[in-house]
Amino acid sequence: MEERLLSLQEAVSRYVHDGDVVAVGGVGRNRSPMALVREIVRQGKKDLHIVGREKGMDFDMLIGAGCVRKVSFALVSLEEFGLAMNFRRKAQAGDIELDEHACNSVITSIRAAAMGLPFLPVKGMFGSDVFRVSKSLTEITCPFTGERLAAVRAIKPDVTIIHAHQADKFGNVRIQGSPFEDALKARAADRTIVTVEEIIEHEEIRANPHLTTIPYIYVTAVVHVPQGAWPASCDGYYESDREHVQEYASSTKTPEGFQEYLEKYVYSGRS
C-alpha cells in the first residue's frame, strides 16, 4: 500500500483537471466536501461537469465561481434558505448546461459507472417532462419480459470529492453516519479525493475491517481537514452553521454580493 496523504492544494491541483466530470459527496448541507469545493474555486478550475443528487451550497458555489460547464442533478437548493441563486442565474442565462434527473436516475447513472456498465435500466420516469427533455434517458425493452423501462446513460466521474470522518494514510476511509452515495461515487470514479476529520492509525483499520466504508483501492488522495464540511454538517462532529448559510444565501442575491463572499471566505482562506 502506498501512502496517499496530500495537502488540499496538492490533491486538487494533481487530481482535478479542467473539463473533468466531478461527483460531489454529501446531501443538502450534510457532509458536503466544502473545503475541496473552496479549493477548486481558489484554483480556478474550469468547464467541470458536476454530478450529484440533492445538492446545495457546494454546487451553487462552484457554479457561481464559473467553474462549471454542465450539471447533472435532481435538486439544487439551499433548503430553508431558498433558491440557489447562482444556479438560478446561470441556468436562466443559459451559461450552464442542465442535465436534469430524478434522484434515482442520476444515482443510477453513477451506479452504472460503478458497475463498469454503459447504462442501467430504471423503472418510473415515463410521463414526466424530465424524461421527455433528457438526453441521458431513453426507452428500452426488457429482452425477457417485454416490459418497457427507462435506460439511464452511465456517468463516469473522472474524480469524486468526498468529506468523511476518518481515514488512515493509505486511504482506508470510514464514514460513520449517513452513507449517502459517497462510497458508490468513489467506486464509480477514476480518482477519488477524500478530506477527513481525523487521520487514524493503519492498525486501527486492520483491527476493525468492518468499519472501512471505502477501501484504499478506491481512494487516490486523503487530506486531513478538520471542519472540512463547514458550513455543512459532519455527523458526530458538528452541526451545519445556519448563520453562515444564511449569510451565503443573502450574499448570493446579487453577483456582486457573491464576489464579496468569495473574497471574504474563499480567496483569502486556506480551507
Binding site: V27, G28, R29, N30, R53, E54, F73, A74, L75, V76, S77, E79, E80, L83, A84, F87, R88, A91, Q92, G94, L98, E100, H101, A102, C103, N104, S105, I107, T108, R111, V122, K123, G124, M125, F126, G127, S128, D129, V130, F131, V133, R148, G177, S178, P179, F180, E181, L184, S233, D235, G236, E239, S240, R242
Partner: protein
C-alpha cells in the same frame, strides 16, 4: 385565534395520511412531513416504517433537525439504508408513500419543481424535483402546499416534474405507469383528493375558519366541490404537545416565514 398554527394543523393532516404498516419516505427540505412521520408512528401507525433522507430507518430523534437530512435523524435508528436501496424497494413495489412539495400543482395532481416558462429558456429556474420523476410514476404520493393560491394551484403545470394523473382518466395507464398517483393534497386552507373517474382534484375538507369560497378563489382551476365538505379536524392537545416537544425550534414553521 386558534391555539395552534397552520403548520401544526397541516403536520397532523399529513400524519393522518399514513396508514399503519406503510413504508414512508421523507425527502429533503420536508419539515412538516418529517414531523408528521414521527407523529404518525407515535399516534396512529405504530408499524409504519419511517425512512428518511439521512438514510436511516425508524430514528427516534430527541429534537428534529433543520435540514431534513441532518444528523439528528440518525438518533436511535435501527439501521442505515442508502437512498438507492430505498429506491430499489420502491421499484419492487415495497415503498408505499412519499410526501411531495411543489412550486406548481395542477388539477390532475401533476407537480412542477423544474421551470416556470419553457425548459430551455426558463423565466424562473426552480431547484428540480428530487425523487419525483421516478417515484411519482411508481407509487402513492401526498402533496403538501404551504401557500394555497392560484399561482401554485394551476390549471396546467408549465412542466411535469412529478407525474400526477397526467391528463386525467386513464392517462397513467396509457403512459405505462399504472401504479400509484397522488392520494391527497394538503394545503394551508384545505385537504383535497382526486375524483375516482376523471382524476380531477376535489375538495374534501376545509380547515377550521376557512370557507369553501376562499378555497375556490385561491385555486387556479375549477375544483370539484362535492355535496358534503367536512371541516378538517383540529389537532388534539396530545398531538400538539408531541409536536412542540420534538420540535422546540419550530422547524415546522420554516415554510411559513
Amino acid at each position: 385565534m386558534a391555539d395552534y398554527s397552520v403548520a401544526e394543523l397541516m403536520t397532523v393532516c399529513l400524519a393522518k395520511e399514513i396508514r399503519d404498516g406503510e413504508r414512508v419516505l421523507q425527502g429533503l427540505y420536508s419539515p412538516m412531513p418529517m414531523i408528521a412521520c414521527l407523529l404518525a408512528k407515535n399516534f396512529y401507525a405504530p408499524n409504519m416504517v419511517f425512512i428518511n433522507t439521512a438514510d436511516t430507518i425508524d430514528p427516534q430523534p430527541r429534537e428534529v433537525p433543520f435540514s431534513t437530512a441532518g444528523p439528528a435523524l440518525q438518533e436511535n435508528a435501527v439501521a442505515y439504508i442508502p437512498l438507492y436501496q430505498t429506491f430499489d424497494l420502491a421499484q419492487q413495489g415495497k415503498l408505499d408513500l412519499i410526501f411531495l412539495g411543489a412550486a406548481q400543482v395542477d388539477k390532475y395532481g401533476n407537480t412542477n419543481l423544474s421551470v416556470i416558462g419553457p425548459f430551455e429558456s426558463p423565466k424562473v429556474r426552480l431547484p428540480a424535483g428530487a425523487a419525483s420523476a421516478h417515484l411519482c410514476a411508481i407509487m402513492d404520493t401526498v402533496i403538501w402546499v404551504p401557500r394555497h393560491n392560484a399561482r401554485v394551484l394551476v390549471e396546467k403545470v408549465d412542466f411535469i416534474t412529478g407525474q400526477g394523473y397526467l391528463t386525467g382518466g386513464d392517462a397513467r395507464e396509457k403512459a405505462g405507469i399504472p401504479k400509484g398517483g397522488p392520494r391527497k393534497v394538503v394545503t394551508n386552507l384545505c385537504i383535497m383528493d382526486f375524483e375516482p373517474e376523471s382524476k380531477a382534484m376535489r375538495l374534501v375538507s376545509t380547515h377550521p375558519g376557512v370557507t369553501i369560497e376562499e378555497v375556490k378563489e385561491n385555486t387556479g382551476f375549477d375544483l370539484i366541490i362535492p355535496e358534503k365538505v367536512e371541516t378538517t379536524e383540529p389537532p388534539t392537545p396530545q398531538e400538539l404537545e408531541f409536536i412542540r416537544e420534538i420540535d422546540p425550534k419550530k422547524v415546522r414553521e420554516l415554510e411559513f416565514h
